[in-house]
């Protein structure tokens, strides 16, 4: 009962503080929106068709026509015909960024097996990534075309070397080779000999044809901000300690644990509310900025359990921070640095594997990592409570350890 009174007092204090509510709810939502909008813009930027001015000095040639056709063939490029002089002028006054030149006699040279060079000139306006992107496509097409013509040439040569043999044993005739090669190249264009097909694990998709996990994780942000709110708990303990109200409360017929439980309860509920609002807002708002809405999986019970444990873990961490911090700057600045880093190495922010194995190993000692694993199992892999027992246990363990150390080290006055 006493604990509830204290909880009520703290909750009232929090709800009256509009700025605090903004920090707890609006900052995360704004952050997720901005982040995902940036993410969507990035994808759009990558999917953009790049216009490539082309100076064709081999107009109407068989190979140059083929080359142009392949360049425009759904590879993110769109060629535009340019006059040579015009292209040079536009390049230097920065109206265009780059120019691809097909040399004269291109088709004849390629067919004769004589080396010829496609020139990609770029001007001051071009960026490295654009030049690289165009170069990659041109390289790919050039090497395929080269190989095709050279192979046919090579085989024909072999046939020609056997030209002295009697007609019955001349196996590799130019005609046979050409027909065979053409039929294979033709087939390879629509169905490559070896292809890769991707699928989600059967174990996950069984009986769920509509399985379509989102690639943009909201869970990480929810975890990140839920743990950042440990600072709210820490700050409220610090304040009461500093102003001496803690000592006064202790003079009342109250147990130490009652006092702490009262401190934890409102922050615990706020952390849960915060996560619920973050996910709910993402469901509604993400589609508006061009992102797929997050998938929630099919275990509401599992989600509830993880969320409760994350909130518990965060509030106990708040008690621990409140107990250990000696100055305001430790509660504020230093704790934020610590919590952001924990979120980063715990994989709440960027995919864990990009950090390398050393930081990944460190990541496993922060609760963020385990919370992330549990949410992934539920939301992306469609698992149930049975799949996250280990994670739930570890999170409960973190909460217990944080609380135990916090309780031991907390000096009330």
């Amino acid at each position: 009962m006493n604990a509830l009174n204290i909880a009520y007092k703290d909750l009232m204090m929090l709800l009256k503080d509009r700025g605090q509510l903004i920090t707890l709810f609006l900052v995360p939502i704004g952050f997720i929106l901005a982040f995902s909008a940036a993410f969507a813009a990035g994808q759009e930027l990558e999917a953009q068709v790049i216009a490539v001015p082309v100076v064709n000095l081999d107009p109407g040639g068989e190979m140059s026509t083929l080359l142009l056709q392949q360049l425009n063939d759904d590879r993110g490029l769109q060629t535009e015909d340019y006059d040579q002089a015009q292209a040079a002028a536009d390049l230097s006054d920065e109206t265009i960024k780059l120019v691809l030149t097909i040399p004269s006699g291109f088709s004849a040279d390629v067919q004769a097996g004589k080396q010829t060079t496609l020139r990609l000139a770029y001007g001051p306006a071009a960026s490295d990534s654009e030049v690289q992107a165009v170069r990659l496509v041109v390289d790919g097409i050039a090497s395929d075309l080269s190989l095709e013509t050279q192979l046919v040439g090579g085989l024909s040569q072999m046939g020609a070397m056997m030209g002295d043999a009697p007609a019955e044993v001349r196996v590799f005739t130019a005609e046979r080779i050409a027909t065979q090669a053409e039929s294979q190249f033709e087939r390879a264009k629509t169905t490559p000999l070896v292809a890769l097909s991707a699928k989600w694990p059967d174990q996950i998709t069984q009986g769920r044809e509509d399985f379509n996990p989102s690639s943009f994780g909201v869970a990480g942000f929810a975890i990140m901000f839920a743990f950042l709110s440990a600072q709210t708990t820490a700050a409220s303990i610090f304040e009461e300690r500093k102003e001496g109200t803690f000592r006064r409360l202790l003079a009342a017929p109250l147990g130490k644990w009652e006092l702490l439980a009262g401190k934890m309860l409102p922050n615990f509920f706020l952390a849960i509310l915060q996560m619920v609002i973050i996910v709910a807002a993402s469901l509604v708002l993400l589609p508006l900025v061009g992102q797929q809405a997050p998938t929630l999986g099919n275990s509401p019970l599992g989600l509830a359990l993880v969320t409760i444990l994350v909130a518990l873990c965060s509030t106990s961490l708040g008690i621990l921070l409140g107990a250990l911090c000696r100055t305001e700057s430790q509660v504020g600045g230093i704790s934020s640095v610590f919590l952001w880093i924990a979120g980063m190495v715990g994989g709440a922010f960027i995919p864990a594997f990009v950090l390398g194995d050393f930081l990944n190993a460190i990541g496993k000692v922060v609760p963020h990592y385990w919370a992330m694993q549990a949410y992934n199992d539920l939301m992306l892999r469609g698992g149930g409570v049975g799949d996250i027992l280990l994670e739930l246990g570890v999170l409960a363990g973190f909460a217990a350890v944080f609380f135990a150390i916090g309780l031991r080290r907390l000096r009330f006055a």
Partner: protein, 412 residues
Amino acid sequence: MIRNSLAVAWKDLLIVLKDKGALAVYFLMPLLFASLLGMAFGNAGSDETTIEIAALVVNQDNGAYGQMLADGLVGTELLVVEELSDATLADERVAGGEAAAALVIPTGFSQKIDAGEPVEITIIKDPAQQEAASIVAGITNQAMAEIGMLGELRFGIHAVLAQAPEYDQAPPELVQAYEAQTLGVMWTQVQQMRQSPVIAVSDEAVEGAEELQPWDPITYYIPSFTVAFAFFLIGQMAKTLLQEKEEGTLRRLMSSPMPRGAVIGGKILAYMIVVFLQVIVLFSAGYALFKMPLGESPLAFLGLTVALALASASLGMLLGALCRSSKQADQMGMVLGFVLLALGGSIFPLFRAPGFMGILSRMTPSAWGIEGYMGLVADGWTLAETAPNILALLGFAVVFFGIAVWRFKFQE
């Protein structure tokens, strides 16, 4: 007036520098973010990569091609490959998140390739590790292209040989030996052809264009987080301004024989110095730890930094003028800091995006700051090239400062 301003500036500077928490947030945090992201998305600072992705391979094929593909994947540095014999087990383990992806090479893979029949390899991806799984898919595609080429060649040779009239009568060993020999010759030729393709591609810079450098992520992340955290100062600045008002020290300062301008000027100067220190610390760290270039124009660098410091300090003033309490200023500063971080392009260079997002991004001072520093360190911009960014930041500073002066009340 100047002496008075300096005295106020010194006092405010000491308040910031004595606060260890603030120092951690303004100096340590951006450094950590920039280093972590720089290391994660590039090879900054280290020569070898430590990234490892767990993948499974189930090879159900008993021929040469399946083995070749499996060996190719096992030999890839980026992947830690485990070979399994059971596809169901692999499916389960990917579903459990133990590996990012599993590749299943089907039975009869090699026979089908030999017969010229298209064949598919299946990649099972973990939905919770989609980025890692697509890297596995990319590596597999590369390995497969090689096998596809070899397969096509072999099938072609076989098909041409089979058209020879005496093919049916020839002893099978002889035919096999002949096919293998021809394939060997052709494969060697293919390798040579790749060395000297008949169609070569060259790229060249026209006169006036810079030689292109491969992009180093650190030349983005150091500028982006320096600018982002320069704007995280505004909450602190507005807070101290309002605290002085709340505690009455501002009125006391006013009643001293000191012009009002000196008090405000001193505050602005103090926070400008903090921005300068941030820039110095972060760019020096970038230079020392990641060999990040510092550009070719110290003058442009100085100009941009002055403009950034002015924009940040005047935005802090504006926030102080608009907020009602120090607490509100602190929290709004935090919100604004995050908005500028995301919208200004510190996570992704949003100001380069096409359309609405790009325009929105350019409406923040951060975008102009980040772009300017990136231009300086990555592209060696000159003063003239940096001028638009310096002017844009100064423009923001003038607008912020103007509104701040108009709205600020020294007394309630």
